[in-house]
Symmetry: C2
Subunit: 137 residues, 2 copies
DNA sequence: CCTCTAAGTGTTATATTATTACATACGTGA
DNA sequence: TCACGTATGTAATAATATAACACTTAGAGG
Protein backbone atom coordinates (compact mmCIF):
# COMPACT_ATOMS: atom_id res chain seq x y z
CA UNK A 1 0.00 0.00 0.00
CA UNK A 2 2.99 2.33 -0.13
CA UNK A 3 2.61 3.94 -3.58
CA UNK A 4 -1.15 4.21 -3.71
CA UNK A 5 -1.31 6.99 -6.25
CA UNK A 6 0.15 5.24 -9.31
CA UNK A 7 -2.24 7.04 -11.61
CA UNK A 8 -5.10 9.40 -11.06
CA UNK A 9 -8.28 7.90 -9.72
CA UNK A 10 -9.92 11.27 -10.18
CA UNK A 11 -11.63 10.32 -13.42
CA UNK A 12 -13.76 7.62 -11.89
CA UNK A 13 -14.46 9.30 -8.61
CA UNK A 14 -17.32 11.65 -8.13
CA UNK A 15 -17.17 14.70 -5.96
CA UNK A 16 -19.22 14.83 -2.79
CA UNK A 17 -22.10 16.76 -4.33
CA UNK A 18 -22.21 14.54 -7.38
CA UNK A 19 -22.11 11.48 -5.13
CA UNK A 20 -25.00 12.43 -2.87
CA UNK A 21 -27.18 13.48 -5.80
CA UNK A 22 -26.43 10.23 -7.60
CA UNK A 23 -27.12 8.20 -4.47
CA UNK A 24 -30.47 9.86 -3.97
CA UNK A 25 -31.51 9.14 -7.54
CA UNK A 26 -30.22 5.61 -7.24
CA UNK A 27 -32.15 4.89 -4.08
CA UNK A 28 -35.26 6.51 -5.40
CA UNK A 29 -35.36 4.88 -8.82
CA UNK A 30 -38.03 7.37 -9.82
CA UNK A 31 -37.62 10.62 -11.70
CA UNK A 32 -36.92 13.46 -9.29
CA UNK A 33 -37.07 17.19 -9.79
CA UNK A 34 -34.10 19.43 -9.11
CA UNK A 35 -35.73 21.36 -6.30
CA UNK A 36 -36.99 18.17 -4.70
CA UNK A 37 -33.41 16.92 -4.71
CA UNK A 38 -32.32 20.20 -3.18
CA UNK A 39 -34.86 19.88 -0.36
CA UNK A 40 -33.96 16.27 0.22
CA UNK A 41 -30.27 17.01 0.50
CA UNK A 42 -30.39 20.16 2.63
CA UNK A 43 -29.28 18.09 5.58
CA UNK A 44 -26.31 16.78 3.58
CA UNK A 45 -25.12 20.31 3.01
CA UNK A 46 -26.70 21.26 -0.31
CA UNK A 47 -27.83 24.84 -0.03
CA UNK A 48 -28.49 26.26 -3.47
CA UNK A 49 -30.12 25.23 -6.74
CA UNK A 50 -26.86 25.71 -8.52
CA UNK A 51 -25.15 23.04 -6.52
CA UNK A 52 -27.86 20.62 -7.57
CA UNK A 53 -27.88 21.65 -11.21
CA UNK A 54 -24.12 21.43 -11.45
CA UNK A 55 -24.10 17.92 -10.07
CA UNK A 56 -26.98 16.92 -12.32
CA UNK A 57 -25.28 18.33 -15.40
CA UNK A 58 -22.14 16.40 -14.68
CA UNK A 59 -24.01 13.16 -14.03
CA UNK A 60 -25.96 13.54 -17.26
CA UNK A 61 -22.71 14.17 -19.09
CA UNK A 62 -21.27 11.00 -17.58
CA UNK A 63 -24.35 9.08 -18.67
CA UNK A 64 -25.14 8.05 -15.13
CA UNK A 65 -28.52 9.74 -15.11
CA UNK A 66 -30.95 11.06 -17.70
CA UNK A 67 -33.06 14.13 -17.91
CA UNK A 68 -36.63 13.50 -18.93
CA UNK A 69 -37.33 16.72 -20.74
CA UNK A 70 -41.09 16.72 -20.77
CA UNK A 71 -41.35 16.52 -17.00
CA UNK A 72 -38.20 18.40 -16.00
CA UNK A 73 -37.00 15.46 -14.01
CA UNK A 74 -33.92 13.36 -13.61
CA UNK A 75 -33.70 9.61 -13.28
CA UNK A 76 -30.97 7.07 -12.69
CA UNK A 77 -29.80 5.29 -15.82
CA UNK A 78 -30.47 1.60 -15.58
CA UNK A 79 -28.77 0.66 -18.80
CA UNK A 80 -25.26 0.86 -17.38
CA UNK A 81 -24.44 4.31 -18.69
CA UNK A 82 -26.15 4.66 -22.03
CA UNK A 83 -24.36 7.93 -22.61
CA UNK A 84 -27.24 10.30 -23.20
CA UNK A 85 -29.34 8.13 -25.48
CA UNK A 86 -32.61 7.82 -23.72
CA UNK A 87 -35.93 6.17 -24.29
CA UNK A 88 -38.73 6.30 -21.79
CA UNK A 89 -42.34 5.44 -21.37
CA UNK A 90 -44.39 7.82 -19.29
CA UNK A 91 -47.83 6.80 -18.09
CA UNK A 92 -50.34 9.49 -18.94
CA UNK A 93 -52.56 8.53 -16.06
CA UNK A 94 -50.25 7.89 -13.11
CA UNK A 95 -47.08 9.52 -14.37
CA UNK A 96 -44.91 6.47 -13.81
CA UNK A 97 -41.76 6.51 -15.89
CA UNK A 98 -39.77 3.57 -17.14
CA UNK A 99 -36.56 3.53 -19.08
CA UNK A 100 -36.97 1.28 -22.08
CA UNK A 101 -34.39 -1.44 -21.88
CA UNK A 102 -35.74 -3.27 -24.88
CA UNK A 103 -32.78 -3.68 -27.19
CA UNK A 104 -35.09 -4.17 -30.16
CA UNK A 105 -36.62 -0.78 -29.77
CA UNK A 106 -33.41 1.11 -29.29
CA UNK A 107 -31.58 -0.88 -31.93
CA UNK A 108 -34.55 -0.40 -34.21
CA UNK A 109 -34.39 3.32 -33.73
CA UNK A 110 -30.69 3.25 -34.49
CA UNK A 111 -31.37 1.36 -37.70
CA UNK A 112 -34.08 3.75 -38.73
CA UNK A 113 -31.72 6.55 -38.10
CA UNK A 114 -29.04 4.97 -40.25
CA UNK A 115 -31.48 4.15 -43.02
CA UNK A 116 -32.57 7.73 -43.10
CA UNK A 117 -29.04 9.02 -43.19
CA UNK A 118 -29.42 11.00 -40.04
CA UNK A 119 -26.17 11.64 -38.28
CA UNK A 120 -27.31 11.51 -34.71
CA UNK A 121 -25.16 12.47 -31.80
CA UNK A 122 -27.79 11.52 -29.23
CA UNK A 123 -31.50 11.23 -28.88
CA UNK A 124 -34.30 11.61 -26.41
CA UNK A 125 -37.41 9.52 -26.93
CA UNK A 126 -40.48 9.94 -24.79
CA UNK A 127 -43.43 7.64 -25.33
CA UNK A 128 -46.65 8.45 -23.54
CA UNK A 129 -48.50 5.30 -22.64
CA UNK A 130 -51.16 3.83 -20.43
CA UNK A 131 -49.26 1.54 -18.09
CA UNK A 132 -50.41 -1.96 -17.22
CA UNK A 133 -51.93 -1.22 -13.85
CA UNK A 134 -53.67 1.89 -15.16
CA UNK A 135 -54.99 -0.07 -18.11
CA UNK A 136 -56.66 -2.55 -15.79
CA UNK A 137 -58.35 0.02 -13.59
CA UNK B 1 -78.72 25.00 -48.14
CA UNK B 2 -81.73 25.88 -46.05
CA UNK B 3 -80.71 24.18 -42.80
CA UNK B 4 -77.14 25.44 -42.66
CA UNK B 5 -76.52 24.71 -39.03
CA UNK B 6 -76.82 20.93 -39.20
CA UNK B 7 -73.84 20.66 -36.94
CA UNK B 8 -71.58 23.12 -35.22
CA UNK B 9 -68.94 24.86 -37.28
CA UNK B 10 -67.35 26.02 -34.05
CA UNK B 11 -64.91 23.14 -34.06
CA UNK B 12 -62.90 24.40 -37.00
CA UNK B 13 -62.69 28.05 -36.06
CA UNK B 14 -59.97 29.38 -33.84
CA UNK B 15 -60.42 32.23 -31.42
CA UNK B 16 -58.57 35.46 -31.95
CA UNK B 17 -55.74 34.63 -29.55
CA UNK B 18 -55.34 31.16 -30.97
CA UNK B 19 -55.35 32.62 -34.47
CA UNK B 20 -52.66 35.22 -33.93
CA UNK B 21 -50.40 32.79 -32.12
CA UNK B 22 -50.83 30.22 -34.87
CA UNK B 23 -50.18 32.83 -37.55
CA UNK B 24 -46.98 33.92 -35.88
CA UNK B 25 -45.71 30.35 -35.67
CA UNK B 26 -46.78 29.73 -39.25
CA UNK B 27 -45.00 32.76 -40.59
CA UNK B 28 -41.93 32.08 -38.56
CA UNK B 29 -41.53 28.39 -39.32
CA UNK B 30 -38.99 28.20 -36.50
CA UNK B 31 -39.49 27.10 -32.94
CA UNK B 32 -40.51 30.06 -30.80
CA UNK B 33 -40.60 30.47 -27.04
CA UNK B 34 -43.73 31.44 -25.18
CA UNK B 35 -42.37 34.74 -23.91
CA UNK B 36 -41.02 35.63 -27.32
CA UNK B 37 -44.50 35.07 -28.70
CA UNK B 38 -45.88 37.25 -25.95
CA UNK B 39 -43.49 40.07 -26.78
CA UNK B 40 -44.18 39.74 -30.49
CA UNK B 41 -47.92 39.92 -30.03
CA UNK B 42 -48.12 42.75 -27.48
CA UNK B 43 -49.25 45.04 -30.25
CA UNK B 44 -52.01 42.60 -31.20
CA UNK B 45 -53.37 42.80 -27.68
CA UNK B 46 -51.71 39.93 -25.89
CA UNK B 47 -50.81 41.09 -22.41
CA UNK B 48 -50.08 38.14 -20.18
CA UNK B 49 -48.21 34.84 -20.31
CA UNK B 50 -51.38 32.98 -19.59
CA UNK B 51 -53.01 34.20 -22.75
CA UNK B 52 -50.11 32.79 -24.71
CA UNK B 53 -49.96 29.50 -22.85
CA UNK B 54 -53.67 28.96 -23.20
CA UNK B 55 -53.54 29.48 -26.94
CA UNK B 56 -50.48 27.25 -27.22
CA UNK B 57 -52.11 24.49 -25.20
CA UNK B 58 -55.14 24.50 -27.42
CA UNK B 59 -53.11 24.51 -30.61
CA UNK B 60 -51.01 21.60 -29.36
CA UNK B 61 -54.19 19.76 -28.49
CA UNK B 62 -55.50 20.36 -32.00
CA UNK B 63 -52.24 19.06 -33.45
CA UNK B 64 -51.57 22.32 -35.24
CA UNK B 65 -48.32 22.97 -33.43
CA UNK B 66 -45.85 20.94 -31.40
CA UNK B 67 -43.95 21.60 -28.26
CA UNK B 68 -40.29 20.72 -28.43
CA UNK B 69 -39.70 19.78 -24.84
CA UNK B 70 -35.95 20.01 -24.66
CA UNK B 71 -35.88 23.63 -25.75
CA UNK B 72 -39.19 24.81 -24.31
CA UNK B 73 -40.31 25.96 -27.71
CA UNK B 74 -43.26 25.65 -30.01
CA UNK B 75 -43.25 25.07 -33.74
CA UNK B 76 -45.85 24.85 -36.48
CA UNK B 77 -46.73 21.32 -37.52
CA UNK B 78 -45.84 20.75 -41.13
CA UNK B 79 -47.31 17.28 -41.34
CA UNK B 80 -50.90 18.47 -41.64
CA UNK B 81 -51.86 17.95 -38.03
CA UNK B 82 -50.01 14.92 -36.79
CA UNK B 83 -51.98 14.99 -33.58
CA UNK B 84 -49.24 15.20 -31.01
CA UNK B 85 -46.88 12.61 -32.45
CA UNK B 86 -43.70 14.46 -33.03
CA UNK B 87 -40.24 13.72 -34.30
CA UNK B 88 -37.59 16.36 -34.63
CA UNK B 89 -33.97 16.80 -35.41
CA UNK B 90 -32.18 19.52 -33.50
CA UNK B 91 -28.75 20.65 -34.62
CA UNK B 92 -26.38 20.64 -31.69
CA UNK B 93 -24.24 23.34 -33.23
CA UNK B 94 -26.64 25.89 -34.67
CA UNK B 95 -29.85 24.86 -32.93
CA UNK B 96 -31.83 24.52 -36.13
CA UNK B 97 -34.90 22.33 -35.72
CA UNK B 98 -36.63 20.27 -38.37
CA UNK B 99 -39.72 18.18 -38.09
CA UNK B 100 -39.03 14.77 -39.52
CA UNK B 101 -41.46 14.13 -42.31
CA UNK B 102 -39.87 10.86 -43.29
CA UNK B 103 -42.69 8.33 -43.28
CA UNK B 104 -40.23 5.49 -42.91
CA UNK B 105 -38.93 6.79 -39.65
CA UNK B 106 -42.28 7.50 -38.08
CA UNK B 107 -43.85 4.34 -39.44
CA UNK B 108 -40.83 2.44 -38.27
CA UNK B 109 -41.22 3.80 -34.78
CA UNK B 110 -44.87 2.84 -34.85
CA UNK B 111 -43.93 -0.68 -35.84
CA UNK B 112 -41.33 -0.95 -33.16
CA UNK B 113 -43.87 0.21 -30.70
CA UNK B 114 -46.35 -2.42 -31.83
CA UNK B 115 -43.73 -5.14 -31.83
CA UNK B 116 -42.84 -4.26 -28.29
CA UNK B 117 -46.44 -4.28 -27.19
CA UNK B 118 -46.33 -0.71 -26.05
CA UNK B 119 -49.69 0.93 -26.06
CA UNK B 120 -48.69 4.43 -27.00
CA UNK B 121 -51.02 7.36 -26.91
CA UNK B 122 -48.47 9.74 -28.31
CA UNK B 123 -44.75 10.26 -28.48
CA UNK B 124 -42.11 12.90 -28.58
CA UNK B 125 -38.84 12.09 -30.34
CA UNK B 126 -35.92 14.46 -30.28
CA UNK B 127 -32.81 13.56 -32.25
CA UNK B 128 -29.73 15.69 -31.74
CA UNK B 129 -27.76 15.92 -34.95
CA UNK B 130 -25.12 17.87 -36.77
CA UNK B 131 -27.00 19.47 -39.65
CA UNK B 132 -25.69 19.56 -43.21
CA UNK B 133 -24.39 23.10 -43.24
CA UNK B 134 -22.77 22.70 -39.83
CA UNK B 135 -21.17 19.44 -40.95
CA UNK B 136 -19.48 21.22 -43.84
CA UNK B 137 -18.07 24.08 -41.80
C1' DC C 1 -86.03 35.34 -28.24
C1' DC C 2 -84.16 33.41 -23.92
C1' DT C 3 -81.30 30.92 -21.14
C1' DC C 4 -78.03 27.44 -20.20
C1' DT C 5 -73.46 25.84 -20.80
C1' DA C 6 -68.82 25.16 -22.42
C1' DA C 7 -65.05 27.50 -23.70
C1' DG C 8 -62.43 31.43 -23.81
C1' DT C 9 -60.76 36.01 -21.84
C1' DG C 10 -58.27 39.38 -18.92
C1' DT C 11 -55.66 40.28 -14.95
C1' DT C 12 -52.92 39.85 -10.78
C1' DA C 13 -50.12 37.23 -8.30
C1' DT C 14 -47.16 33.50 -7.61
C1' DA C 15 -44.86 29.01 -8.35
C1' DT C 16 -41.37 26.43 -10.64
C1' DT C 17 -37.25 25.78 -13.22
C1' DA C 18 -32.72 27.34 -14.42
C1' DT C 19 -28.70 30.54 -15.05
C1' DT C 20 -25.31 34.60 -14.34
C1' DA C 21 -21.74 36.46 -11.89
C1' DC C 22 -18.10 36.38 -8.81
C1' DA C 23 -14.99 35.00 -5.28
C1' DT C 24 -12.79 30.97 -3.40
C1' DA C 25 -10.88 26.13 -2.84
C1' DC C 26 -8.68 21.99 -4.32
C1' DG C 27 -5.92 18.56 -6.87
C1' DT C 28 -2.89 17.38 -10.51
C1' DG C 29 0.85 17.88 -13.69
C1' DA C 30 4.79 20.69 -15.20
C1' DT D 1 5.93 25.97 -6.38
C1' DC D 2 2.97 27.54 -9.84
C1' DA D 3 -0.54 27.24 -13.26
C1' DC D 4 -4.59 25.25 -14.76
C1' DG D 5 -8.85 22.88 -14.90
C1' DT D 6 -12.56 21.69 -12.24
C1' DA D 7 -15.48 22.12 -8.45
C1' DT D 8 -17.54 24.95 -4.66
C1' DG D 9 -20.45 28.38 -2.15
C1' DT D 10 -23.47 32.14 -2.27
C1' DA D 11 -26.51 35.85 -3.73
C1' DA D 12 -29.14 37.59 -7.16
C1' DT D 13 -32.01 37.17 -10.99
C1' DA D 14 -33.81 35.27 -15.36
C1' DA D 15 -36.87 32.23 -17.77
C1' DT D 16 -40.73 29.22 -17.84
C1' DA D 17 -45.32 28.07 -16.29
C1' DT D 18 -49.60 27.92 -13.39
C1' DA D 19 -53.35 29.24 -9.79
C1' DA D 20 -57.25 31.82 -8.74
C1' DC D 21 -61.02 34.60 -9.79
C1' DA D 22 -64.29 37.45 -12.07
C1' DC D 23 -66.14 38.16 -16.43
C1' DT D 24 -67.48 37.49 -21.56
C1' DT D 25 -68.83 35.18 -25.67
C1' DA D 26 -70.84 31.89 -28.94
C1' DG D 27 -73.61 28.27 -29.94
C1' DA D 28 -77.25 24.63 -28.53
C1' DG D 29 -81.73 24.01 -27.67
C1' DG D 30 -86.07 25.06 -25.80
Amino acid sequence: MSSTHTHSKKSQSLTKNQRIVLDLLQNSGEPLKAYFILDSLKKEGLNSPLQVYRALDKLVELGKIHKIESINSFIICNNSNCASNTAFTICERCGKVKEIKNKYLTDGVSDLVKDNKLEITRYNLEFYVLCKSCKIN
